[in-house]
């Protein structure tokens, strides 16, 4: 297990574009825009990192591995390709944590409601990565995966108020956003960042999103 983790981690570090979009970009946006953008802005940058990992980085790697036969090749050895999946999820989670840590270190410090923030972070990241697994399963190859992922991710960013603050969105978009997993994730991260308790309905949407996407991913995931 440790060797797969080591090798996959090295491969991840060799992917400069992914590190740029999941760690450097959110951090730079925070450093350059943070002061003007409001107190919950670091939480939005956390979400940007988690969304990018879940909808582009993770599905691309897994769809490529499946399409090129990396998973098939592994299934001829005594080690199950399930380990690659587990290791990929772990690595993407670690990158999300590192990115979030850097946002705290170079931003305005820790979230005011740290336990609440951590709960929301773990639940929401798990739900979004489960959605990413579904995309990895549906994408025919590694080139299609980021395209499909982006086609899902950008609307999610919009309805969750990343481009335009939520209060300026039309009512119907706000309602869609409230059930989109990404929307409640953004709001709960923001709430806990400024010291409030996470709202129960937000946590419920995240939990339901995790269960539904997780079950769907298990059903549709293909090894070859």
């Amino acid at each position: 297990m440790s060797k797969i983790l080591l090798v996959e981690a090295r491969l991840h570090l060799r992917d400069g574009a992914s590190l740029l979009f999941t760690i450097a970009l959110p951090l730079m946006l925070l450093v350059f825009l943070g002061r003007a953008a409001g107190p919950a802005f670091p939480a939005l940058m956390v979400m940007l990192s988690v969304l990018t990992l879940s909808f582009t980085v993770l599905p691309t790697v897994l769809a490529t591995y499946r399409h090129q036969g990396v998973l098939r090749r592994m299934s001829t050895t005594p080690v199950s390709p399930l380990r690659v999946l587990a290791v990929q999820l772990l690595i993407n989670l670690v990158v999300a944590v590192v990115s979030t840590g850097l946002l705290m270190a170079f931003g305005p410090g820790l979230p005011r409601n740290l336990p609440g923030f951590l709960l929301v972070f773990v639940l929401g990241t798990a739900a979004l990565m489960a959605m990413g697994l579904v995309i990895a399963a549906l994408a025919p190859n590694g080139k299609a995966a980021p395209t499909i992922g982006s086609a899902v991710m950008f609307p999610l960013m919009f309805v969750s108020g990343m481009w335009v603050p939520r209060e300026y969105l039309p009512e119907v978009v706000r309602v869609i956003g409230d059930y989109s997993v990404a929307g409640p994730f953004a709001r709960a991260l923001g709430d806990t960042w400024v010291g409030q308790a996470p709202h129960l309905p937000h946590l419920l949407v995240l939990a339901v999103g995790l269960v539904v996407s997780g079950a769907l991913a298990v059903r549709v995931f293909r090894w070859e």
């Binding site: 060797k3 090798v7 490529t64 036969g69 098939r72 090749r73 001829t76 005594p78």
Partner: protein
């Protein structure tokens, strides 16, 4: 009898309405290079995928070292090293990392540094997979199939897409691996490759085994004609040549005589000529190939 390390009996595999493998039976003896030869789409890859436990057969039985590949996956994966036709590695993984990683999957792996030397990739140990040539990728693939010290290595379409030099290098590698005591199942649609490497060959067409024997026996066998062409140093009667065992026809073309037949044709003909003190000048032997055997058995071409 030889120890059978793989036994396949009446294997059948269907995908919906499509029957990929209809009825395939063969046994592979410990230490041999066994060829599975047939055109694309004959069911070769499906057969070895069933042997490797990657697919569940629709019918028949398979035993690898006495184990069922589906029921006892773990045991079969320790015995079998598999090089798959369409299985790559991540683009950015380095040669040594791939070997080191795959070695970690097995309880008692080979020393991958020595293996790297065997396949001639020591100079490429730090090269990422994406930067390797086709031949280098195939050799790495063979090394990965061997890193778990398998008793049997399954090599699927090993030399497809390689240039002639890389192909010959890969053949040498296969022979060296066998010399180390590894049984090899070689899946191919190149008759030349099967003739050169295999101790025994199963010819597969439309999901069935149409013939199974040594390449020599297949070529010498039914319907596979050979031709011997020469210019006799003295006139020779047709009756003399037709009396030689195995000869089926004699054709004269000016000074040149062409004898067709089967079996050990060339030695038999030259011996009969020598008894009359006739020297066959410009002796030319046209042996049938496995391609001809396949064509005569199935009416179809291999490629």
């Amino acid at each position: 009898m030889d120890m059978k390390v793989i036994e396949v009996a009446n294997l059948r595999k269907r995908y919906g309405d499509h029957v990929a493998v209809d009825d395939v039976s063969f046994a592979v003896a410990e230490g041999e290079i066994f060829g599975v030869l047939g055109p694309n789409g004959a069911g070769k890859t499906t057969t070895v995928e069933c042997v490797a436990g990657l697919r569940t057969p629709s019918g028949g039985t398979i035993r690898v070292g006495g184990h069922d590949p589906v029921g006892d996956r773990a045991a079969v994966r320790r015995i079998l090293g598999v090089q798959l036709q369409s299985a790559a590695l991540p683009d950015k993984i380095k040669v040594w990392e791939a070997l080191d990683l795959f070695a970690s999957f097995y309880p008692d792996p080979a020393d991958w540094r020595a293996l790297l030397d065997t396949v001639g990739l020591s100079a490429k140990r730090n090269t990422p997979f994406a930067k390797l040539s086709g031949g280098q990728r195939q050799r790495l693939s063979v090394a990965l199939a061997l890193v778990g010290r398998p008793r049997v290595a399954v090599l699927d379409e090993l030399t497809t897409g390689l240039d002639p030099q890389a192909r010959r290098d890969t053949w040498d590698l296969v022979e060296r691996v066998r010399a180390d005591g590894v049984t090899i199942v070689l899946v191919t649609h190149f008759m030349e490759e099967a003739e050169r490497l295999c101790d025994r060959v199963a010819l597969i067409s439309s999901g069935r085994v149409v013939a199974l024997d040594t390449p020599d026996a297949l070529i010498g066998g039914a319907g596979a004609a050979q031709r011997v062409r020469f210019r006799p140093s003295a006139p020779v009667e047709e009756a003399l040549l037709l009396a030689v065992p195995g000869v089926t026809g004699v054709v004269r073309n000016g000074e040149q005589v062409t004898v067709t037949g089967s079996g050990d044709l060339a030695p038999a003909v030259t011996l009969a000529l020598a008894e009359r003190r006739i020297v066959p000048a410009g002796l030319h032997i046209e042996r049938a190939t496995l391609e001809d055997v396949f064509l005569s058995l199935t009416g179809r071409s291999l490629t």
